[in-house]
């Protein structure tokens, strides 16, 4: 498996750390309530198909990335800087 780091280019997956669902970008407000926090921290759909996860180019530039990929075909659609994705959410 290989990922296109927007900063470093195409690299082997061994350079990356896998975190999990990119929903981790959307941290609820402190007073959002138990359901929102439960969803943020614990509930994952685990769909077969398209997923968005967070990876870090830990053995490279250190950038956190949002990777959109397909768990069935293993195709990787986009690799974006997590900071840019987060900025766009604001």
């Amino acid at each position: 498996m290989r990922l296109d780091c927007p900063i470093c280019g195409n690299r082997d997956r061994r350079e990356f750390y896998y975190q999990g669902d990119a929903v981790m970008l959307e941290r609820p407000a402190p007073d959002a309530g138990a359901a929102a926090w439960d969803g943020y921290l614990h509930l994952r759909a685990n769909l077969a198909g398209e997923t968005r996860d967070l990876w870090q180019h830990e053995a490279g530039c250190g950038a956190w990335l949002v990777v959109t990929r397909n768990t069935v075909t293993h195709a990787i659609h986009t690799v974006e800087l997590a900071s840019a994705v987060k900025e766009a959410l604001r």
Binding site: M1, R2, N10, Q19, M24, L25, W37, L54, Q56, E87
Partner: protein
Amino acid sequence: MRIKGKGLVDRSDPVTFRFDGRSYDGFAGDTVASALLANDVKLMGRSFKYHRPRGVLTAGSEEPNALITVGAGASAEPNVRATTQEIYEGLEVRSQNAWPSLDLDALAVNNLFAPLLGAGFYYKTFMWPKAFWERVYEPVIRRAAGLGGLSGQPNPDTYERAFAFCDVLVIGAGPAGLMAALTAARAGADVIIADEDARPGGRLNAELLEVDGELGHVWAARAVAELESMSNVRVMSRTTVTGAYDQGTFGALERVNQHRGGRSDGAPLECFWRIVTKHSILAAGAIERPIAFQNNDRPGIMTAGAVRAYLNRWGVSPGRAVTVFTNNNDAYRTAQDMVAAGVRVAAVIDSRADVRSTGEFPVYRGAQVCNSNGGKELESISIIVNGKSEKIQTDCLAMSGGWNPTVHLTCHMNSRPTWRADIQAFVPTEGAVPGMSTAGACRGTFSTHGCLTEGAAAAREVLAALGKKVSDTALPQAEDAPYNLAPLWAVAGKGRAWLDFQNDVCVKDVKQAAVENFRSVEHMKRYTTQGMATDQGKNSNVAALAVLADATGRGIPQTGTTTFRPPYSPVAIAAMGAGAQGKGFAPQRFTTSHRASVAAGAPMIEAGLWYRPSYFPKPGEKTWRQSCDREVNHVRNAVGICDVSTLGKIDIQGPDAAALLDFVYINTFSTLKVGRVRYGLMLREDGTVLDDGTCARLGATRFVMTTTTAAAGTVMRHLEFVAQCLRPEWQVAMTSTTEQWAQFAVAGPKSRELLNGLLDAPIDNDNWPFMACGEVSVLGVGGRLFRISFSGEHAYEIAVPARYGEALFRELVARAEGLGGGAYGMEALNVLRIEKGFITHSEIHGRTTAYDVGMGRMISATKDCIGKVMAARPGLVVKDRERLVGFKPIGAVKQLSAGAHVFAAGAQASRENDQGYITSVGFSPSFGAYIGLGFVKSGPERYGEVMRAVDHLHELEVEVEICPPVFVDPEGRRARG
């Protein structure tokens, strides 16, 4: 026997090797199989289950029978195919699965019990008495059945791993692969062409077919020479592409040194490549199928293509009177080539009645071979023609049930192959692997012309995608003979007709599986063991599923195939894991004081990847405890030195650095004054403690955070996550400086006295109070000084650039010894911190909260922080949670053990009565007794209670008193002194 004037072996270069202790002659270019056949050795192995005598079946990596062990002793390698192992001077190989010898195998008696050993026999027999299975039957079966064995010793050979990148990977160097590589390379593409064989050329080396008016192998050699002369091409022979993986990654095994004697020239035995490319062209060829008939496994019975490969490539005829059994026209080439070489062809038995084939040999049309006769070698075959039986004397039967395209790699990414009725074979499904196209025999195109055409066409497509100008390469002239066959999988009749030679699976076994309702091809495979082990059924799977299809009344495409998985052919784990043996398994990290510590006799212990001194023994000390007690006393009474460089150090800078720290720590750092240090605790978002440490403010926008040794990487990743994923608007950047600074604890009442001998500007309690920090000059070297304490004593940590670390450590230790102290190691460090109730990852082990460790009130009420919301969940703040306490032994047994669980006095020591557990223990010289830290339900409310601490593992029970976790100087006066 060797045939004069035939073959591509180098007759000027004789080679001697040994097989089962006997010496044989061959030539450079021979494989073990071809050289043994040249010496008229046909018996090369024993079968897996029945111990039937077996000879070579094929001439390639698909070989199921002729498996040998290469070498001896620790470097011996089992299950090597005699058909791929090249001979070299001094090569030593042995047969397998036979005792006392290959010729006189005692376990051939299994063959007599064959009726008991059919499909699934181990599920049905050996059922009684029950206890016999594990103790008697299984060990006996395991010993009797099997392939080669491992030496049981560490592998002394060296292996490598490597990456390679290219524009296009061509897999296979037959006519299709060579044409593809030439076309791509001439247009300037960066090409890798890999072939499992030592000699590129594929079937061109095994046939007498012409390309552009010259013999195919001559054209192939010319093509290879051209490719090798080009700087944009890498020709990788002896390299098997073993798997196709995601995003254009391919695994490939290069046998760098398996064909040479003497493994001391520095080259690895094998190299496992990861080849990365957007475009690949599969030109892997095809594998010939045997035909199942009674006793079709006798030595001397081979695939037709293999028989003529031995003749044309190695100059060897596997027999003196050859017969051919075929359902297609391709096998006639074997008869023609044999006759041309002067070898007698006794008969061609063609299962097709309606063909008009002729040659300089008798042809039986509409005929079938129904049995073979002989002992350990073939002597004759029985055929049925026009309903009548006939016997033909022959010592070599060349059989062909047609060819199976080598589709394996196209199926490694979950695709299934497509059935083509006209060639009665599976071909690759279009688009099976992104970026991969197929050419030649592996896609069902068998003529040389067809292979060349498709190779060139596949390359043109790649070049177009690469945006390269396509050069006008003329296509070489070559034969374009049609390929005709009529399906014939198994000859009807009694007895055992082999499908899978390696696993002794016969037609009746597959039928039995169907009868017992193992109708799915995957179930049939597992019930019969069809297609398992080293050959993975390369020449038997399709025939087996055809028999299954017939037995279940389905068609072959409806029956489907089993799953093709990497690797294509066996890969040694040592090759895939190259570099990860021994010390290569995990990198070793050494501190700057490592040499000094080792020289002082300190046993080094692992702390993550780091190595740290356990204790520093002095003359006369007989146990580690004596050293540890002395070192603790040094710190409590004089001064001790400890290398703390392994703690993570993260330099954090930017206008929002303080905001970041406020967000990751439960307490506040924005209020910290420049030149001061503060202890901080950080949580995971779920409210569990992540790590703790100190953070020093070096400037308005600059902090240096320390982490625990174990969590340095985790914390760094966490900080980056918070900064990039949660607060990208903040202006803050961080970098790890753990390895740039050597840092030493100087701890004890005489610490300042020691430091003032080293610092160019002396310090006192006013200009450097507890928790002060700043830059200092240490013997002329710029450094940092932090007044922090992990021992509870008046203490400092002094940091200098790493290159001065060793010198400073030696200087500090010498001065400490002059003041009645010295170096201390991890054991003493642990005792000192337990005495003070300071936590480590023994306590913050991933299940405890700030509340549990007594720091619940440190969570700032005035700001948000990571983990704050979840830490406030009701279940995480109830009083009866297991909370941090101290333990003192008060009964007859004075020892404590970490891991012991705690129970109320008088209660049974069982899980449901569990009240907590002990996490850290140490012998406190200050108390003259063991003390411990741990967790007890409602802990702080139970001080003074006497409980049972039971360590079931060490069978230790101790009466303990629950006490506050701080044993020494609870008011913290010493650190401020």
